[in-house]
Symmetry: C2
């Protein structure tokens, strides 16, 4: 196999979920790489009115014909499917939006690709499809909808010749991340001196910097243009450092030069908390470049901490 | 394992898809077995106004709360999930109804079961999930949506303790079957002397009589009450005789005492036509009782042929 970084990325990319944290970073990486980027967005998404240069918006109102039209008009060399409804724990009233976001939209996208003869898909999976082992066992309903979509992808791969790479993500972080996740809570507490209530903290995390994740997406798209690549494959996108929650706090404390006040064990572990991470196959030829220490320093700098 | 036919079936059953060909026969079998049958039906389904004795109707308008309410009110000992949108070949405008019927409704049902503490599900799969082999390879989009639902079931089994048997069906037939399938075409041609246009006819079929299929559903429900039964398992429901399309026509001709005029080879095989059938595990302790010769004679008698 030739070095995938030397392969052509393609002129046009279609991105779903392009307004999410990873998605908007990916759009920037693609534009920087010289791609014309087409985004499939819901009408109420932020940024539909004034897209940046070389970014084109196609609206998705829930109809299959919206997606067919977007794929026909954008004629993408590769589709990056990041749109999803992420819920670590769901409630009964979230069943309908979760099936629509995580299965229906993806199926509409595959159908549209089959109609238009578009063959290359980079899909976003989750390590939560592999709870405490290396075969399918979903941590939560979210993970099971991701697996369900891969089964539908298997049909389109076999019957319509669509080629795909599933990138299974662990945790992500980076600048401009407004999601209420671990690092946001820790950084807030550095700012306010509040004492976060935490679980005992022995669960292992794999935090990848969003720039590394984006480079994995671009790398996968280049890899997919290799005819020796299997029709469908799944790879883990690891940040390269697996640490317990307590160890991650220690790295942040070292970067900040201060200790954090944390009430360890104040809350129980989540039901079906992932204590050990999936040990899936690495994306061939790609590796992360940003260490947690470097990434955390940039976050602290961003918030003047 | 004790003889499953000696096990208790339960007092109350909830059935989805109870107005379909197999579903309405299953409802009759359940009533005959002494069950109170609750049906989850769309408001426009036939028979919602005047259900037979011991049959109760719950309406499904597409909302998760409809299903939660139906399961709470019916408190079923076992749920039989037969509702699906069956399409051998789909068109682009059928993506939304297919995901809704084959994945969303089933997920709503599992969620409702988890909420109400209902633990037993008999689900309906298709041999088309296993195209020319014994591992998952979907013949069509329909089969991939069935597999996708099983992925979601895996989550509810693991996290909510729902126990399930997937019954994978091949082809079905029986009295009162108005579906435009093979036997209907053949019987029509016996009546009208029309010459059906057929494929070359070498594909192998496994036709099961609907009464045998219903006995498999009841048997599976009894089997599931055995604590030694795995949390989730899948079995093939074979009619017991595998024949090529040409051989099936010969059996019907013998039963009718007449030859059929058939234009063999006038149409091509379907794309991804199944030439060899899945050789899946048989439902333990169950076997079909009605031969094709007997079943066909009853069909001919029904139509005075």
């Amino acid at each position: 196999m030739r070095d995938p970084s030397q392969r052509v990325l393609g002129q046009r990319a279609l991105v779903t979920g392009g307004t999410g944290f990873i998605g908007r970073n990916l759009v920037r990486h693609l534009v920087d790489a010289g791609c014309a980027v087409h985004m499939l967005l819901r009408p109420n998404s932020p940024g539909t009115d004034n897209p940046p240069a070389n970014v084109h918006i196609h609206l998705y109102r829930g109809e299959t014909s919206d997606v067919v039209e977007a794929v026909e008009r954008s004629k993408p060399d590769v589709v990056f499917h990041l749109a999803s409804l992420f819920l670590a724990q769901h409630t009964t009233d979230q069943i309908v939006p979760m099936i629509q976001a995580n299965i229906l939209l993806g199926t509409q996208l595959l159908e549209a690709m089959a109609c238009a003869g578009v063959k290359s898909l980079i899909n976003t999976g989750t390590s939560w499809q592999y709870f405490h082992g290396n075969s399918y066992r979903p941590v939560n309903l979210y993970a099971s909808t991701k697996q369900a979509f891969e089964d539908i992808l298997a049909y389109y791969a076999d019957a319509a010749g669509i080629r795909a790479i599933n990138l299974c993500l662990f945790d992500s972080y980076g600048p401009g991340d407004t999601r209420k996740k671990l690092l946001r809570i820790l950084l807030d507490s550095l700012e306010t001196d509040a004492e976060p209530q935490m679980s005992p903290g022995d669960q292992v995390l794999d935090l990848a910097h969003v720039d590394d994740i984006c480079s994995a997406f671009l790398h996968a798209a280049r890899l997919l243009s290799d005819p020796e690549q299997p029709l469908v494959s799944s790879y883990a996108v690891s940040g390269g450092q697996r640490q317990s929650l307590r160890e991650i706090v220690a790295i942040l404390e070292k970067a900040a030069g201060r200790t954090l006040r944390i009430n360890w064990g104040a809350t129980p572990y989540r039901p079906r908390e992932v204590m050990q991470l999936w040990d899936g196959p690495a994306l061939p030829g790609w590796q992360p470049r940003i260490t947690l220490a470097e990434g955390f320093k940039a976050l602290l700098h961003e918030r003047s901490l």
